[in-house]
């Protein structure tokens, strides 16, 4: 009998078949890892960014709503009055001649004789008063205004006066009492005999340009403090908002060199 000599596979090769049974669990593991690294991990990073972004938005929304609430609570009419007062105490322009009129009025009212007024205004286009100021000695009070230089630009007038001591004090009170904010420095008083004194002093008058930019929309609007409100209210109540005005003068002159 001729039987074929074909080699039959051994039963032990069933191990390969068993290997196939690992495909499902290994495939599951691979699928899980793929999902974790391709979906979960990127989304987790996006969530972190989103949380930061949302926190920022919450803060912005809070600030804006707070600002809107403050703005809603403000009274425009009252603010306009306060702005007029603020403009009187710190004008938006140099107003050199108004300042000189203020000095003249104070001198007239107090009875001092105004011998000389020298205005140092700097260039007409110079936005900052170009008045050099030496630093004060250590430990001394800075009354020269150098510590105030960063706050607001100023114009300066150097005055020479003659009058009684009481008139001088009255003149100084008038200058402090006027709406426009001034500092009085470099005061030199010398006796001139017969109850008269000669005085030289420097008066700095401050001004501040209107801001051209309100800044970020989220910038908080700060309300006036009680003392600031009181300061402005005192200007309004004393009717100092108008301030001294420069009077109109007649125009026209046929001889330009005729003596005054």
């Amino acid at each position: 009998m001729n039987l074929p000599t074909l080699a039959l596979p051994k039963v032990s090769e069933g191990l390969d078949v068993r290997g196939l049974s690992l495909i499902a669990p290994v495939g599951g593991l691979i699928a899980s890892l793929v999902i974790i690294f391709m979906i979960v991990w990127p989304k987790y990073n996006q969530i972190k960014e989103l949380k930061v972004s949302n926190d920022d938005l919450v803060q912005r929304a809070g600030k804006l709503e707070e600002k809107a609430a403050i703005l809603t609570s403000l009274d425009a009419t009252s603010l306009e009055k306060q702005l007029a007062a603020a403009e009187a105490i710190l004008p938006s322009e140099k107003d050199v001649f108004t300042f000189i009129r203020q000095i003249e009025s104070a001198a007239r009212a107090s009875g001092v004789l105004l011998n000389r007024v020298e205005a140092v205004t700097g260039s007409i286009n110079d936005s900052v008063g170009s008045v050099p100021v030496a630093p004060p000695p250590t430990g001394a009070l800075d009354i020269s205004g150098s510590g105030l230089a960063g706050l607001a630009p100023k114009i300066q007038a150097r005055l020479s006066l003659t009058g009684s001591y009481r008139s001088l004090l009255q003149f100084l009170s008038s200058m402090y009492g006027a709406a426009r904010t001034v500092t009085i420095n470099d005061i030199a008083i010398a006796s001139a005999g017969e109850g008269q004194v000669r005085i030289s002093l420097t008066i700095d008058a401050y001004w501040k340009q209107l801001p051209t930019d309100l800044g970020s929309i989220e910038k908080v609007v700060v309300k006036l403090t009680n003392s600031e409100s009181a300061l402005l209210d005192s200007v309004v109540s004393q009717d100092l908002t108008s301030g001294p005005s420069v009077p109109e003068v007649p125009l026209g002159r046929s001889d330009l060199f005729a003596p005054l």
Binding site: Q46, L169, I189, L224
Partner: protein, 185 residues
């Protein structure tokens, strides 16, 4: 009687493999479940955050438009605040010379007279005459007293000369102290 292991070596190998396969399957299933849950949770959380972001953006836009509608009021408030703050600082820092002279006049002896006074750079220099040396002493004592200390500090006598008439000419300098409240408007 001792147990007789009747399993063949092949069967033992198969049994070990089956155990490994079962463990791997269980771990795989657990990992799949965990992955599914974490994926769903992550996506749900992401969706929630994205939705919250949309709401927040609308909230910011609404608040922005409200703020913009009060632009005029904001300008008034900002300018007024800026000016008032500056003026208050200037007023607080400046020397109130009227108050200084008034306080000085209250503490000097009656027989002391000033010939000149200079106030500059936070310093005051006084030249004057006194009827007697006691008046000069009284003047200096007044300046260094508690009341004098409210307006001046570091008092020094720069010169002191007696004249034939017995009158003393003196020169005194001191640093000015900022004291009290400034003159109100």
């Amino acid at each position: 009687m001792a147990d007789i292991n009747l399993l063949s070596v092949e069967d033992k190998k198969y049994e070990g493999f089956e155990n490994l396969r079962k463990k791997l399957s269980i771990f795989s299933v657990l990992l799949l479940v965990f992955t599914a849950i974490s994926t769903l949770a992550t996506l749900a959380y992401f969706t929630t955050l994205a939705s919250a972001r949309s709401k927040l953006i609308i909230q910011v836009e609404d608040a922005s438009s409200k703020v913009n509608s009060y632009k005029g009021v904001e300008e008034l408030a900002v300018v007024t605040k800026e000016k008032a703050t500056i003026v208050e600082q200037i007023t607080l820092q400046r020397l109130d010379s009227v108050k200084f002279f008034n306080q000085l006049s209250q503490i000097i002896p009656q027989d002391v007279s000033f010939s000149d006074v200079k106030i500059s750079q936070g310093k005051v220099v006084v030249n004057g005459r006194a009827r007697t040396s006691a008046d000069v002493a009284g003047f200096i004592s007044a300046l260094v007293s508690a009341r004098g200390g409210e307006i001046v500090s570091d008092v020094s006598i720069d010169s002191l000369v007696s004249e034939e008439s017995g009158v003393y000419a003196f020169g005194v300098s001191a640093n000015i102290v900022k004291g009290g409240s400034p003159t109100p408007l």
